[in-house]
């Protein structure tokens, strides 16, 4: 009996082995050429460019759509794209854009001023996704198609950051969208998993939660920087676990991955044929204090905590792939200054501030909330826990699911005393960060501190309406100094952006204004022997 069983097992094993032993391809080869495989953790539920814009969604949106302008390079520079040139009126309220004559949508229709007008109107009227960027300054009727290739924006008031948001407003083909409208939905249902763009790629397979494919457009109106080496396409493959991402890259099932842990990046860098992209980003990490309710409403306590924190430990947690914040505004952003006297660990000063607070002997317990699953944020909590022991303050490190954390942080009564928050600015204009400290931002996750300094809010309003950069630069310098003085958060560090890819993947073009994980797919190519 045993013999029969063993024979059966061997037979089953032989059968199964016929399905295995297949070596993995280094990259996907198709009849049309090489296909780059991007392993990412985040799904793309809705592709509509006026509805959503998280990093994975925007990466594919950027591939299939074009904007009037495009961010490129490090530092990020605004480059003409659909708009070849533009001018603004002296009062900063009127912006006129002249479109490229040869731009065309994937179906061959020309990209016209009317298409631009329709796209902006659509974004504003739907009042979702990107609408917040312009809605306070631009009304649908303020967009005018002057002629076939000239479009004018008449703003309600001067808005200095206007231009900096335009790369994220993609232009859709109105004829295609209107053809797919259902009950006046502006084609929302259809654009969920279809595209009507003019970008370098068109949409291929769309398998939610599995893969999202884009195929390169051979005659893309803007041409290809890599010439004949352009890839046949890119597959964005869902690989959720960092360990699986690492395994996929090592095995050659993915050509580039974005979500490894800090330790994984260190270990995988030693693997042959693997290249690490390590760049200083604009994502800030801060420990936001609730400045309105509870013990951290006391500025002296906030200062004490800020001076007790071991900032060098934050860098160590990221294995050196981070740099300390020297201001609320990231280094790569216009108007940044190194704020003198920004707190660094100084226990004597910490005790001095604690003595001036309502809790001179400590003896309090403060929660530190971080997103569940973010290992680095958890470790920072442990550092804080250890540091604040010196002040006789107990820290409760609490992991929380992101939705719950956002919900708690939307009201000052429920916002935790200390919350770890990573924030990526949406543009290179300093308003994108400064406005986070405006009272109007209360309720947003990055405003969990409920910071309120009328003088700062006034300066922010003035700076965003000014047309003089010199005036704005002066205002932002003051804003940065005042925010640091008020200590609504412990200003932590700027985490580096990292990707790991195979060495045959060429054309990687980093730009700090892109979201974490987001890559410009347009210049990528495979150097194949």
């Amino acid at each position: 009996m045993l013999k029969k069983f063993i024979l059966g097992a061997v037979a089953a094993g032989l059968f199964a082995s016929s399905a295995i032993m297949s070596p993995a391809a280094a990259f996907e080869r198709t009849d049309a050429g090489n296909v780059i495989v991007f392993g990412g953790r985040q799904a793309i539920p809705v592709l509509d460019p006026h509805i959503r814009y998280d990093w994975s969604t925007r990466m594919i949106q950027q591939a299939v759509y074009d904007g009037l302008l495009k961010y490129e390079g490090d530092p990020a520079v605004l480059k003409p794209w659909l708009a070849e040139k533009w001018e603004t009126s002296a009062d900063g309220k009127t912006w006129t854009f002249h479109l490229a004559q040869n731009a065309k949508f994937h179906n061959g229709d020309p990209v016209t001023a009317e298409a631009v007008r329709y796209s902006f109107e659509r974004g504003l009227k739907l009042n979702k996704g990107v609408a917040w960027m312009l809605k306070d300054f631009l009304a649908p009727e303020g967009i005018v198609a002057v002629d076939a290739h000239t479009v004018r924006f008449d703003l309600k008031a001067p808005y200095a950051a206007f231009l900096s948001f335009l790369p994220w407003w993609y232009v859709v083909n109105p004829l295609e969208v209107k053809a797919h409208e259902v009950d006046g939905d502006y084609g929302q249902k259809w654009l969920t998993d279809h595209a009507a763009g003019s970008g370098p790629f068109k949409l291929g397979r769309w398998e939610p939660n599995v893969l999202y494919e884009v195929e390169s457009v051979a005659d893309y109106w803007k041409g290809w920087p890599q010439g004949k080496n352009r890839p046949a396409g890119v597959i964005y493959k869902m690989i959720r676990e960092p360990s699986a991402q690492k395994a996929s890259l090592l095995r050659g099932e993915a050509d580039i991955v974005e979500g490894l842990t800090s330790d994984d990046y260190v270990s995988i860098a030693k693997a042959p044929g693997v290249v690490i992209q390590d760049h200083k980003g604009m994502t800030t990490f801060g420990i936001k204090f609730n400045t309105q309710v509870g013990p951290t409403a006391d500025i002296n306590l906030r200062k004490a905590i800020a001076y007790a924190l071991d900032y060098d430990a934050l860098i160590k947690i990221y294995n050196g792939a981070a740099s300390l914040e020297t201001s609320p505004i990231p280094d790569a952003m216009r108007g940044h200054i190194d704020v003198p006297g920004i707190p660094r660990q100084d226990l004597a000063k910490a005790k001095e501030f604690l003595a001036k607070s309502a809790y001179p002997n400590g003896g309090i317990t403060l929660p530190y909330v971080h997103v569940a699953g973010l290992e680095e944020a958890r470790r920072i909590g442990l550092v804080l826990l250890d540091n604040l022991k010196a002040l006789n303050i107990t820290v409760e490190v609490k992991p929380e699911q992101w939705p719950n954390m956002v919900a708690a942080g939307s009201k000052m009564e429920t916002s935790p005393a200390m919350t770890s928050v990573y924030t990526t600015p949406i543009s290179t204009d300093p308003d994108a960060v400064a406005y986070q400290y405006h009272k109007n931002s209360w309720g947003q996750y990055y405003a969990m501190a409920f910071y309120d300094n009328p003088k700062v809010s006034e300066m922010i309003d003035k700076a965003r309406g000014s047309t003089s950069w010199d005036e704005r630069a002066g205002l932002y310098a003051e804003i940065q100094k005042q925010i640091v003085a008020d200590q609504p958060e412990a200003f932590g560090m700027l985490q580096n952006r990292k990707w790991a890819h195979r060495d045959y993947l060429q054309g990687f073009n980093f730009s700090p204004v892109r979201f974490t994980g987001e890559v410009d797919l347009y210049p990528l190519w495979i150097k194949a022997e």
Binding site: M1, L2, K4, F5, A12, A16, S18, A19, I20, M21, S22, A24, E28, T30, V35, V37, A43, P45, V46, Y53, D54, L126, N127, K128, G129, W132, M133, K135, Q188, K189, T192, E207, P208, N209, V210, L211, I235, K237, M238, I239, R240, E241, S243, A244, A247, S248, L250, R251, E253, Q401, W402, P403, N404, V406, A407, A408, S410, I426, Q444, Y445
Partner: protein, 335 residues
């Protein structure tokens, strides 16, 4: 038998309604604001309100519940606020992947677990029994996500034998949808290369998912076999000179399989619920993964939909086991 079947079907409807009520209440009292999450981190209050109105979240909870239950009766499970697609369509997309994985894992559990249980009973307290004991304890004790990662590292990265994740190679087009099971659909379509690729992708996740199931089946079958092998009719059969193989595999196994059958039914439901971890590690696009991503986004309707689906299959599998029991043992029909 007919009354017994009808009684079971009525209980099924009642239980499903109970699950719907319970999950609706639990998911809706949980903290988190799905409209705010979907609106995006920078959305203004009126933008969040737009989403809230569109998805009916601005209505009182009681009204939302009445609408949901009303729709449920007509088979409408609502719309996902994150993906903006009907939940029923998404379940149709993801359920076959999960069911295929569970069936293969269950198959592995049975074809390996039952013979191993039989062997360890026959060679009780011998080396085979000790080895299978370690094997089964490991099966129950090893966390699926850890075991899965370990398998990926060894079989995919170190040996390069099997793919890391997914259901098919990226450039392989799936066969036309017939059952949604790639193994079956590819065979029907005569695409043997696709079948082979699909088989190579399912091996690791199926092994990881089947391990605890296999261990339970092994232990239950072993215990039952030991008891049955000591019964009088087996001793009598042996005394009549019937071959050892026939006594064990035919006479003893037949009676020992009844409790094992119950275990298989239970394990089927258990595996449906525990695919979450395996699907996450192996990026297997099934309902477990769908449930996790929805729960993390506070997208309640898919969570309720998945719970109902798993509950449905759990109850069906148990009902089938009950019916099989009743069919085998008439005394149970009046119970």
């Amino acid at each position: 038998m007919l009354t017994f079947t009808l009684r079971k079907l009525l209980a099924l409807i009642g239980t499903m309604l109970g699950i719907a009520v319970l999950t609706f209440v639990i998911t809706n009292i949980a903290p988190g604001d799905p409209a705010r999450l979907v609106a995006g981190p920078n959305a203004t209050a009126d933008m969040v309100e737009t989403i809230r109105k569109e998805s009916g979240l601005d209505k009182p909870l009681v009204e939302q519940f009445a609408i949901y239950m009303g729709d449920l009766v007509t088979g409408d499970l609502g719309t996902s606020i994150v993906t903006t697609r009907p939940v029923i369509d998404e379940l149709k997309r993801y359920a076959p992947a999960t069911l295929e994985l569970v069936f293969v894992a269950l198959f592995l559990g049975v074809v390996v677990g039952v013979p191993l249980g039989m062997l360890s009973a026959v060679y009780k307290d011998g080396p085979i029994d000790h080895v299978t004991r370690i094997f089964s304890i490991s099966g129950v004790a090893l966390p699926a996500f850890w075991f899965g990662i370990l398998m990926q590292l060894y079989f995919s990265v170190d040996l390069g034998w099997l793919p890391v994740s997914g259901r098919l190679p990226l450039v392989t087009r799936p066969p036309d949808f017939i059952t949604g099971f790639l193994l079956i659909d590819s065979l029907i379509a005569g695409k043997f290369v696709t079948f082979q690729a699909s088989l190579s992708h399912i091996i690791l996740p199926a092994i990881v998912l089947s391990f605890p199931c296999l261990a339970s089946i092994l232990r239950v079958n072993r215990a039952e076999m030991i008891e049955v092998l000591q019964s009088d009719y087996i001793i009598a059969a042996r005394a009549h000179g019937i071959s050892a193989w026939r006594v064990v595999a035919i006479y003893a196994l037949k009676n020992a399989l009844l409790p094992t059958l119950a275990m298989i039914g239970l394990r089927f439901g258990w595996m449906l619920g525990s695919t979450v971890l395996v699907e996450t590690v192996f990026d297997w696009p099934g309902v477990g993964l769908y449930a996790v991503s929805s729960a993390l986004a506070s997208d309640f309707k898919p969570v309720i939909g998945v719970t109902l689906l798993i509950g449905f299959f759990f109850i069906i599998s148990n009902t089938l086991v009950d019916l099989a029991y009743a069919w085998i043992d008439p005394r149970l029909r009046s119970a």
